[in-house]
Symmetry: D2
Subunit: 329 residues, 4 copies
């Protein structure tokens, strides 16, 4: 058993992560921390998980070398504690956005703060196992991807380098906005409506662009769904288009050894992936025009956050990638 | 044209009331006030109504004798301004709870404050037109009923005095909780769930009991609905039970002259009354047991609040009861 | 008063159309027909509208010259009755898809039937008033646009001819699928999910392409919403991009005289247009890349179907365009 | 490993049951049958469970003595196959309603058919483990309770015999209505509404009355929820009322040894029990009036159907009651 400390365990992602680790056959929980809710029991904050552990104030000094830590803080608040944890010899999965972008200059522009440890940006491995599995295994610091980038990247990775003019139109459930009670997540605002936001300015756009190595247009939408994220991606083949059958084969080959990506044969809804770490992807080509439409769906708190963090921890620890993640919904 | 001032126009009820009055053929809007949102336009706060008027800080001193005022403040905050308005000679519909209970002693117990003008409690007319139409016409001060009591009372009024052991199990849409963004109205809390609350302690229970003249058991439930309120009422006939046909006739007779109550022949859903001032009621009797089940549905912001306020203003002004309320959804 | 006959009045669109015409100050209802539900009252089929009229079997022979008719049949079923109505001298709004495409050869390919009166395709005016207002005024036959094309076209019309590579990602409420109870509209299938469908094959794609005069990529999505449709459109300026301010001015100028299109300053949700004939559009430009994102929202049964039909009838009859459509939700 | 055959595996309950058994550490699946969908794979019908098994036409003759069978047919269709299975020496959990009522005379009146094997009604054990655990262990035939009775009985069992005048107002998610696409489950009918139904005539009323040994008033409501069932029960203490603290203790004592019933301290929403076999119950007393309000929530497909069937199979087989049911949602 190896210990994992979870910093920021009272939010939607942190609580889901604690629940996964609490049931994990290999990892054991260390600290589970909260700042506002310190002293409460997790079962009061997130009763659906039935994890009866007390939330404590964070104590980085109690983390010892070789232990694991996952940091589920809001962006700009994680960088400092991640830095301290790395210095103490912990292996860290930063579930926040604070180490996803490799260019230090991006942080002031995109996230509004100067990064305190730019050299860690060069070291951090972007934690999408379907892209960087081997590098994750040996990493000291893994930057857990954003929810939108996870779905979008999984949808287009197999044709990366073959397509141009990528447009990503994504739809996220409300849990992606976190537990804070704001007017934007009031039931009467969200229900029975769809709303685009963050047009040409969402922080996940440069993250997708970094990993695809090209500019993209990205628009997220809020939909009246609790958990689930759907990315519809459009692009054009730069060269000759494959047939639909060739395209499906290409996708199947790309993901053959990746247990959490299911290549399906029709545009996927959210149901089959909700509360699981699975992604479903479906590519379609219109040969006359050379246009591609590729769809990816995930559960935003699982493959889009906490589940992917466990997948990364499994890889870092040399465990089977699916361990503790194979439960059905 | 008579002037109506609306105090507290930025909340769900106040904005709906302004929208109704703005389109009303007889009334014209005076002040529309807000405290937090003063200076904003109503079309920014509640764009769906397309009422392009500026919210102002309240100015009771500008209200003149014979004008109308509707007060849409939270309970305990309305009593003082209602008192001032009455003193200035205005005719007031208090949409808050501050004049619904006739017993001054109830206010500390139920609402947590000492009523500043107990003599107004004796004067205020309980503004359910189906119960007090004539008294409303001449009233200086009308206490607009609560949303739950409106639905429950309309469901059981026709058999009042004939039944005992009343149980009211009610389900309200989330807009009934108001515009404030609290954890209880977070989309991820409300969606895909039903939750009882206020068991044996909801403030609408004494209001229902006052009007029915007997104790009731009342439990509200929050349901994943925006607008709409359903009250399922159970009771026992004290004497001989009517047949189902006799019961329906009794209800039809009771509401024959009341344009906003529709007696229907099957248990009503919320759809046909949403965004209207209509109530639908359906009574059922189980003759062997003498048990009654009576159902009432309303739109909580219309017949349960702002629409009923307009209905009361129409009566006070001697206008047709339906004026400005006959629009379809 | 002029008479309008409504063929196919029991579906979602037909019932909404009858409700609008029943309350219209100028038009009066003639036949309101249904095939399966003939004999029923509309208030039984669609109680929310409170229109107590009997549905009858269709009788085209009773339509006389100069009367109006609206045909709300499924595609492939409307063409024949439209043909007969035109021959009888009626002025017809075909709310179905049967006269939207001008190319007769498109019908077998797109809709699976040979069009019985190809010459009517040349005569029919595509009934988007914001595009063809003058031609609609004099038309004998108006082809009421599809719901998706209405939202998409309104979003991009102001830059038509200036942009290339148009991608339309649209999200529709379930009422767009009609009243028939199919597995695809089962609550347990739709709720808490988003699902793309009709990839590279939806019938509204050639309709959008016809009106824009260029190929587009179009993907519809089903969302857990009752009424409402949102189209997010992406394109690239062929020449120099305008600034955001210039773009907004361009849109405002384009729609200055069109009462039902509101150019807003942020990405629109569905709420402000639900149950109204309004569209809201918002364009955004990313000057560095020359990319455009343009958003349009409508109520699929109003501006996307029945409301637009009334708008067209108003124009055909020389009435004010907003007549009977200015009600608030 | 013992074999369980599942008859009727393509419905919501049957598919959930197969998924539970497929992951069960002790039981192995035998036949999984469907009539309409025979030949399809379960992963096509219910992809969220990822059980890649083929549905076959039922073959009762292939069931051998000592094997288990669960029958998930609609009422009136199960009795015959249950009878055959029992005759073959199988141990059967009838998930349908066909053996829940002990009085043969009730079947024509309540379910509209004459029971083919009245003697089995006397033998069948009502499969609520919290009531009949010991008898279930030895049973040859277990009648799995209805979803509404399960929630209602768990809410009031601890005070059975102490209370009178029981009223049950229950709210069910739509999955309780099954997979068939009917107008009643059309998204546009269900969403944003609550609808009572089956007033004084629902088939679960006699089932609740049988187990409580007294008449009850029972009204189910359809709510816009996928999975989840909430029962709000009202009654009056026949003798002296307990205090709230005594009442909670009474409930805690009653369920101390029952792992799936959680006595909570506030009215429960559906979230903490969805997709689990847990029930949460909360009792409240109003000492002045002697009135009881008791609330029970379950997942209608788990504790209300398939999960409870597995709980019963565990008991029949002498396994730990929670086996295969302890997964988190």
């Amino acid at each position: 058993m190896s210990v994992v400390h979870v910093f920021g365990a009272a939010g939607f992602t942190g609580a889901q992560l604690v629940a996964l680790l609490d049931a994990h056959p290999h990892f054991s929980l260390g600290q589970i921390t909260a700042r506002g809710d310190a002293g409460a029991r997790l079962s009061e904050v997130a009763p659906e998980y039935r994890v009866d552990r007390r939330l404590a104030a964070p104590d980085v000094g109690a983390v010892t070398e070789g232990e694991y830590a996952a940091v589920c803080y809001p962006h700009a608040e994680a960088a400092e504690v991640v830095s301290q944890l790395v210095d103490r010899g912990a292996r860290v999965v930063d579930v926040s956005a604070d180490h996803r972008l490799r260019d230090p200059a991006a942080y002031p522009a995109v996230y509004g703060f100067d990064h305190p440890r730019p050299e860690l940006l060069g070291e951090a491995v972007y934690g999408l196992p379907e892209l960087n599995r081997e590098r994750i295994r040996g990493a000291r610091l893994v930057a857990n991807p954003g929810c939108y980038p996870t779905a979008a990247l999984l949808a287009v990775l197999p044709v990366m380098g073959q397509v141009v003019d990528v447009v990503v139109d994504a739809k996220s459930g409300v849990s992606g906005a976190g537990r804070a009670a704001t007017p934007a997540v009031h039931f009467s605002t969200v229900t029975d409506s769809v709303r685009p936001y963050g047009v040409f300015g969402h922080r996940h756009q440069p993250e997708i662009e970094q990993e695809l190595g090209m500019p993209v247009v990205f628009t997220p939408h809020l939909v009246p769904v609790d958990r689930g994220l759907s990315a519809s991606c459009y692009a054009t083949f730069a060269g000759a288009s494959p047939t639909q059958q060739q395209l499906l084969e290409l996708y199947r080959d790309r993901y053959r050894d990746h247990p959490f990506v299911e290549v399906v044969e029709a545009p996927p809804g959210m149901r089959p992936v909700q509360r699981t770490n699975y992604a479903q992807v479906f590519p379609a080509v219109d040969p006359p025009s050379g246009r591609l439409a590729a769809f990816g769906v995930i559960d935003n708190l699982m493959k889009g956050a906490a589940g992917q963090a466990v997948q990364n921890l499994n890889l870092m620890e040399g465990r089977p990638e699916e361990e503790g993640l194979d439960g059905r919904p």
